[in-house]
Symmetry: C2
């Protein structure tokens, strides 16, 4: 999986990492029990500090996507708290969809975009990106 940092983005580095890793899990590029790269390895490969990767991993742990092990490093471990996930989804969609609606995007277009994003997720299952 290709993780990379956009140094021009306004998003904090650790947020960029967190998001890309979550997208990778959703695409099955990482599966339950797999280890992520070590903090040093990932820090080197994307060109940022080890501690920043550590922060990303801490957040992923806190949010229930991985567990941290002194030996094995960061291991995918999903707590499937669906109820909480649904509440979070609703809150996120309220903002994201409101932004789109204000700019003239229709409900149908949103549904199409959702389907499209799901297709992309399924495309990359098992063996990645063509």
């Amino acid at each position: 999986m290709y993780i990379e940092i956009d140094f021009n983005s306004e998003e904090a580095f650790y947020i960029q990492l967190r998001n890309q890793i979550i997208i990778g899990i959703a695409r099955n590029q990482y599966q339950e029990g797999d280890s992520l790269p070590s903090v040093r390895q990932l820090a080197d490969s994307v060109g940022i500090n080890m501690h920043t990767v550590n922060k990303a991993y801490s957040v992923l742990k806190q949010e229930g996507f991985i567990r941290l092990d002194r030996r094995k490093g960061a291991v995918i471990a999903l707590n499937e708290d669906k109820l909480q996930a649904m509440e979070e989804l609703q809150k996120n969609l309220q903002v994201v969809l409101a932004r789109a609606v204000c700019k003239g995007v229709s409900e149908e277009e949103v549904h199409q975009m959702v389907s499209h994003v799901f297709l992309e997720m399924k495309e990359n299952e098992e063996f990645g990106h063509v």
Copy 2:
């Protein structure tokens, strides 16, 4: 429209304000040409600093939701750059939906949630919240 700050939230105050105002616009509680409260007035009513409201307004201007006028204050003025809005929507959905999928939410459930959020938006059109 009821704007309020969650002082326990991790979200920056100005982001909370921005999001609530955007949701208000999407619900037609604010319409093109309407004025938002003045920075002092809103700051007072929600219990934060004037400058924080100013920051929220600056961001809303920068993102194309309002224009700022020394006389009339902050006025709803949407730049409907739909293409850009669609790109932003896609990026946002990639993260938001990935988070949900990892926690076991299905594509169908996402579509249902989207419909639900749209219903809420339409419910509150013209004359607010029941």
